[in-house]
Amino acid sequence: MEKRRGNSGFFQDRHWGRLGLVLGRLQQTDAAARLPSTDQNAAGAGKTEGVPKMPISECCACAKRNQVLDRVREPRDRKACRLVSRAFARAEAAHRRALRVLRREPLARLLRAFRALERLDLSACASLDDASLAAALSGADLAGVRRVCLARASGVGWRGLDALVAACPRLEAVDLSHCVGAGDREAAALAAATGLRELSLEKCLGVTDMGLAKVVVGCPRLEKLSLKWCREISDIGIDLLSKKCHELRSLDISYLKVGNESLRSISSLEKLEELAMVCCSCIDDDGLELLGKGSNSLQSVDVSRCDHVTSQGLASLIDGHNFLQKLNAADSLHEMRQSFLSNLAKLKDTLTVLRLDGLEVSSSVLLAIGGCNNLVEIGLSKCNGVTDEGISSLVTRCSHLRVIDLTCCNLLTNDALDSIAENCKMVERLRLESCSSISEKGLEQIATSCPNLKEIDLTDCGVNDAALRHLAKCSELLVLKLGLCSSISDKGLAFISSSCGKLIELDLYRCNSITDDGLAALANGCKKIKMLNLCYCNKITDSGLGHLGSLEELTNLELRCLVRITGIGISSVAIGCKNLIEIDLKRCYSVDDAGLWALARYALNLRQLTISYCQVTGLGLCHLLSSLRCLQDVKMVHLSWVSIEGFEMALRAACGRLKKLKMLSGLKSVLSPELLQMLQACGCRIRWVNKPLVYKD
């Protein structure tokens, strides 16, 4: 985020007004005594009279200013505070605790300016590498920094991490996930941070037992560790971990090739509360039995996708840990033995989360599950044999349920919805994808009885506008998924936008009856929308996109195969939606260079772009890739109008910034090898695909 020196009166006026509004809001929620009245008058006057006569900075003492700033949480409001005057900018800088840097160039300056930083997020910092990180850290005072996020920062290696650990003596949490090139040398660098309590090495593919050993010896106070996907790690590494890190509370060994011996070692970790072992195919019931006999205070266990785990193993696990709160056995069990069901009864007071996706269930199983009256979340996605009766027997005794996942439970009818509506009034998230027998009658019951509904997934349910009229009663709705519901029309959208003002995510994938008028209604009523999917809604034209331009919070927009939209529509979106991070224009055949120019000029925060099959030329592509400094992920399959030179120039222009590319495999042999090497050296991963040129829809 760049600071602007507010020299011109223009900035001061506009932001005095904003500040006045912010202070006014604080005034309403807090005792008036906290804020001196002179300040409030001065701020309020600023709105209409221009620069106030008595500068606020002189009135407020530093401590009071900090009190005010403590309450200003919204990023927009903080920005307004910064831009009021130099004194306010300094005060805000001195007070700021968290920083998220998007570009590499200002990093050094920002780290020097913000002295009270505790949390530093460099995951979105385009083209960050060791040299720039080390240089930026050298001049800064980072004694307060406790948490650093370097997720997907593939340019950072052990040199940068050495510098980080040296500069931040109080480092407690580091997130290095998805830095796929990171290995033992990087782990050794982190081992120097002796106070480290949380570490994520998820997808750091190069880390082996050696690197893990260095970390556990160097950081004995580790409480939370993720080794997900570090497949070089074996039982030996886990054994050493268990011997050294006694404070460990949360451990993730998902996707590792470790076996039952690891569980024997882990069972000695007395403080362990959370254990995730997703897709550990070398673990079986014997291992779970060892874990069951251990001395952990396990609260949460995830054995989803473990092919060799059966309900017998889970039964012995529960035997040893009667205080389990969360159990995730999705996609692992094939059948349900009685031993497990009877042991489930032991958890009836503590179990809050149970996921059994992919299991063959019967009514008796659901009845047994219903015995756990404190269940808050139940997952039965893709379970065969889930019937209305079964659901009824489950929910009548689990009235505290808040999250219910019934994806692909296609035997369910409105009766199941009636049972849920009657018994689970607190339900917040309801997933009903592919439950094609439900209709607006059942949804009417849900909408009337469950006012807390925040998320509902009705993909492929065949719902119509009448259903949306009922759902509009749920004014707390945040996420609404209506993919493949082709009977939804603008009328339905009008219902939703009239009262679901808090909506953040809307999925209208293949709702092809939607037209521009529906988007107008949305833009009017759902101003907080961040994620919008309009793929294949092919009646939409540029004027519809024009309405979307007023959605200021929009970050992710999917517009696949909207054949009528052109650069004009793209311009409206790019100009109005200043926070746009991702846009998908695959197969928008009428989008040409004009659309790319608009994105290059206005969509400065764009990080992810898909322009496969668009009518763009090398010129537009080159301009785009050289202008957007945050762009990291580009999918450009079958850009048939771009020449080889066009690709070369464009890719060279953005070489240091790109992290992910998707291109037609034919280009692999045609692009110059040094370009491809350069891209790889800068941490860019290229996916070469074979896709047909012509699609049938």
């Binding site: 593919l205 996907w229 996707y255 893709k382 692909c408 994808e433 049938k696």
Partner: protein, 106 residues
């Protein structure tokens, strides 16, 4: 087993046998017997049942059910012949029902 940074694989919901790749998806807008289904250009580790003529939503087709080779779970069908010109593009392609396949390792 090519995994991790390799292709994204779908497995049989019952026995986790690898049956198709995400990159082979041609369309996500199909209806299977019980709900949502995807059209894939390729399939692996499956066995096919006998060919039969079926009247589907899009017209008459000759299809053959596909089974997971290990556990014989019916996962969808293969289009052998289409009788309408507009549907010919489906010939030789596979339908996998969303409820029968799970994402593997991604």
């Amino acid at each position: 087993m090519a995994e991790l940074v390799g292709p994204r694989v779908y497995s049989c919901c019952h026995c986790r046998n690898h049956v198709c790749l995400h990159d082979d998806i041609i369309s996500k807008a199909f209806q299977g017997r019980n709900g949502h289904a995807f059209l894939f250009s390729h399939a692996m580790n499956i066995s096919m049942g006998p060919k039969e003529d079926r009247q589907l939503m899009t017209g008459l087709h000759t299809v053959a059910d596909i089974y997971c080779r290990d556990c014989r779970e019916v996962l969808g069908w293969k289009y052998e012949r289409a009788f309408e010109e507009s549907q010919k593009y489906k010939e030789g392609k596979f339908i996998f029902e969303k409820a029968k396949i799970v994402k593997e390792n991604w």
